[in-house]
Amino acid sequence: MGDIDVELRGVTKRFGSVTAVDNVSFHIKKGEFFSLLGPSGCGKTTILRMVSGFETPTEGVIEIGGEDMSRRVPFKRPTNLVFQHLALFPHLTVYKNIAFGLEMKGFSKSEIRKRVDEMFDLIQLQGYAERKISQLSGGQKQRIAIARALVNHPTVLLLDEPLGALDLKLREQMQLELKRIQREVGTTFVYVTHDQKEAITMSNSIAVMNNGIVEQIGDAGEIYENPRTVFVANFIGETNLFDGTVSSNGNGAATVDCAGLAVKVAANGPVMDGQRASVSVRPEKIRIGAGSDTLTNSYEGVVEDVVYQGSTTSYRVRLGNGRDVNVAVQNTERSDGFSPGAAIKVGWEPERGVLIPEHAP
C-alpha cells in the first residue's frame, strides 16, 4: 500500500434525495497527476470536497496515506485545496496569504520566511511579497493560490477547476506551469475539470465521471482509444457511434448490425449474439475516397458537408442507409479534396473501431 496516496472505497454521498456520488471506489498513486473529469454536476467536486473534509461521505471510506479520514476535520487533514475561485484572503498581503497555513501550524518565523521564499522561487513571483491581492493579475493570483497550498507540503494537493476563470491563452500557459510545478515538487495532484483537453494534456491518470459514478479510469491514451462506455466515447473527443445488435461473433471479432449496415469490429471481451452494442469510430480513423473500397468495412456515400479546419478537413458523409458519419482528413498535401454532392466511398479496418456492449440494465 506504500505507493498509494488516496483511496476511496464504496464512497456514496447523498444530499437529501439526490445521490451526488454513487458507490465510487478508486485509488491514486503517489506522485500522480490524477484528473477527475466530467460535466458539471457529475459529482467530481463533491469527491474533492469529501477528500478535503468539507463534506462527509454518507457511506464508504476515504483513506489518505493509509489513514482513514472519515471523521477528520478539514484543518487536520494532510491535504490542501486550490479553490475554484482561489479564495485568496483579500485583507492579507501575498506573503501573509502564503504563510497562513504555516502560521496555523505554529512554525517559527524564520522557518516560515524560508519556506515562503522557496515558494516564491517555485512560482517565479519573487518581489511580490508585500503586494495586496487586488493588485495581482489573474495568472499571478493563480500561482499564489497554488503556492499557498503547496507551502504546507500536503500529501495530496487538490485543485478544483482553478483555471476555469482564465482566458484561453493564459489557461494553456498555466497548464504547462502547473505541470512543471508538479514535476518539481513531486506531490500527488488531484485535479477536477470539465475540460477534456485539459485533462488529457496534464494527467497521468483520468477518471471520467458521469451522474455520480466513475465511468472509466485510465491514462489519456487508453481513455481516448478504448472508451468502455458510450458516455466516455462521446465525452472525450469526437466519435461516430453505430448502435445496433451483435449479429455474429467469435475469434476476437464481432459484427454489429446497425440499421442494415453490417459493421465489423474487433472484440476484446465476451459478447453474445443478439446483444445490443455500439461501435465507436473516431473521425480520423476513417478513410475516404481512394483506397477505402478495399477495407473490411467499406460503404458508399455522398458528401453532404465540407468544413476546412486548417490542419484537417472535416467531411460529413451520408451513407446508403441514411446515416451520417464524420470523417477527418489530415491535410498533408495541398489538394482540393471532395465537394458536397460527390459520391465516394468511406471505410475502416475492424480494429480501428471499438466495440462497446450495452450494460445489462
Binding site: 473534509g53 484543518f75 485545496l81 479553490f83 485568496l88 483579500p90 499557498r148
Partner: protein
Amino acid sequence: MRLERFVLRLWAGLVYLFLFTPIFAVVLMSFSTSKYSTFPVRSWTAKWYSEAFGDEKIVAALQTSLLISIVAALIATLVGTLAAMGFVRNSFRSREIMRAFFLSPLIIPEIITGIALLSFATLLSVQGGMILVIIGHVLIGLPFVLTVVSARLYGFDRSLEEAAMDLGADEVTTFRKITLPLIMPGIAGGALLAFTVSFDNFLITYLLAGSEVMTIPVHIYSMIRFEFTPKIHAISTVIIFVSVSLILVSQLLAGERRQT
C-alpha cells in the same frame, strides 16, 4: 434631447435647493446677532455658540444623548450582527417571517413603539428613564445593523473560510482571522447608523424619558416650544455638523466595502 436634459437637471437643482436651504438658514441664523429667527441677517456673531456650550442644560443633554446613543448602538450592533449571521448563514423554514419581524420596528410608527413600551414599563411598575429609552433605541437601531451587516455577509465568499480551515485554522481562528476582519466595515457601518438613529431620535425618547432624562433633540424641542432662545440655532448647527461628519465617515467605510 439637450433641452430635456437641461430641464431635468434644473429640476434636480431646485430640489436640492429645497432640501438644503432650510439647513443653511439654520446655520446662517446661528451667526446672526438677532435674538429671533429674523431675516435678513444684519450683523454677525459667534456668541450663541459660547452661550450654548456655557449652558449647563445643553451640555448635560449632549452628554445624556451621547451616553444613550453609544450604549444603544453597542447593544444593537452586537445583537444585530449575531442575528445577521443567523439569517445569512442558515436556512430554516420561518426565516423570511423572522427577518420581517426583526425589521418591523422600522415600519411600525414610533408613537406605537413608544406607548407600547410605556404600557409595558407601567405594568412592571418601572419608571420611565434612561434604560427604557435605551431599550427603545436598540429596537429601532437593530434593523439598520441587521441590513448593513447582512449585505456584507451576503457578499462574503464562504470559500475564504473553507480555505482558512483547509490551511489548518480551526473554527474560532477562522472567525477571528478571516471572517471578522472582512465583515468589520459592515459592522462599523451598522454601528454608525444605529448611533445616528439613536442620537437623532425624538419621539420615542420624548415618550419614554420621563422628567429626569433629557436628550439633545428633546431639549431642542422643548426650547422651540416653550422657551425660545437663539442658542437653538447654534446647537442645531452643531448637530448638523456632527451628522455630516458621521456620514462622511460611513461613506469612507462604504468605500472600503466596495474595494474588498
